[in-house]
Symmetry: C2
Subunit: 161 residues, 2 copies
């Protein structure tokens, strides 16, 4: 079941981030701060929509998306993280589908996911390509020398509802 994250999910979200294996120390540290803003100000005002994939009491993965300021219908997919012990169960794809649905219903046209061009992120890039994103733009040596920014874009069809 996918729902907006609740305050009590903070520990499990931090834990999944730390164990995901692809995030830097700085990235791992940034999630609780974003989560606190989400809890304190709400998803709209903070700009961080946290959603979780839950099985009973357990959080198996989460995603963060948010509206890009000064655009008409552009949303950033900041983060999708899945518990390494819950891989290959479709958790990531289900979270992505839930983000897309929510963005579409909010009038979003574009979902943007930024990731790295290094070998470590190959499975992330493959995930985006498999789920309908296109690598529309790249910036060389962005994160650091030898570590390019890859911007993946998914163009959403208007909601059928």
């Amino acid at each position: 079941m996918i729902t907006p994250a609740a305050k009590a999910d903070k520990t499990q979200i931090a834990d999944i981030t730390a164990r995901a294996g692809v995030f830097s120390r700085e990235e791992i540290d940034s999630v609780p701060a974003m989560f606190d803003e989400y809890i304190q100000y709400g998803a709209e005002a903070s700009g961080y929509h946290f959603i979780v994939y839950r099985e009973g009491e357990q959080v198996l993965g989460y995603a963060i998306y948010g509206y890009r300021d000064l655009t008409d219908g552009v949303y950033d997919l900041y983060w999708i993280a899945v518990d390494p012990q819950a891989r290959r169960k479709g958790v990531g794809r289900a979270l992505l589908t839930a983000c897309e649905e929510a963005v579409r219903q909010a009038g979003g046209r574009l979902l943007i996911a930024e990731t790295s061009g290094t070998a470590e992120y190959e499975s992330t890039r493959e995930f985006y390509l498999r789920t309908g994103f296109v690598n529309e733009a790249s910036i060389r040596d962005f994160y650091k020398p030898g570590d390019d920014l890859k911007i993946f874009v998914k163009r959403l069809q208007p909601s059928e509802a």
Copy 2:
């Protein structure tokens, strides 16, 4: 003379933004909010470095730049605005040079300027190309359908100091 912006510059900065002629209502409204954060928390903590080009008491233009989180040495040039009555005096170029110097001294490698692909922004894009930026990436229909995102990148040489 170019200096960090002072609290008293807020009115002139807002005024230049409104009269610049290229910013949307939403963009014009966003500058005072960024300025308040800069004044309240400082340039580092807010992430918004405001600098102004001053002639006596008068502000002729301003720029905003800031560090891009989770990167090694990437800075965004959020904004350069020049009073329409002070055009062709090199104010924009002087502001850009000051940003570059500051970014270089802070260890920055890349300066990124995002702008629109519409005809209205042609002189902005030409300004970036003339000053050493390269349009490394674009995202179609980003701001709105028919209004592409153009990402200009300038790779900075290390400071000689």
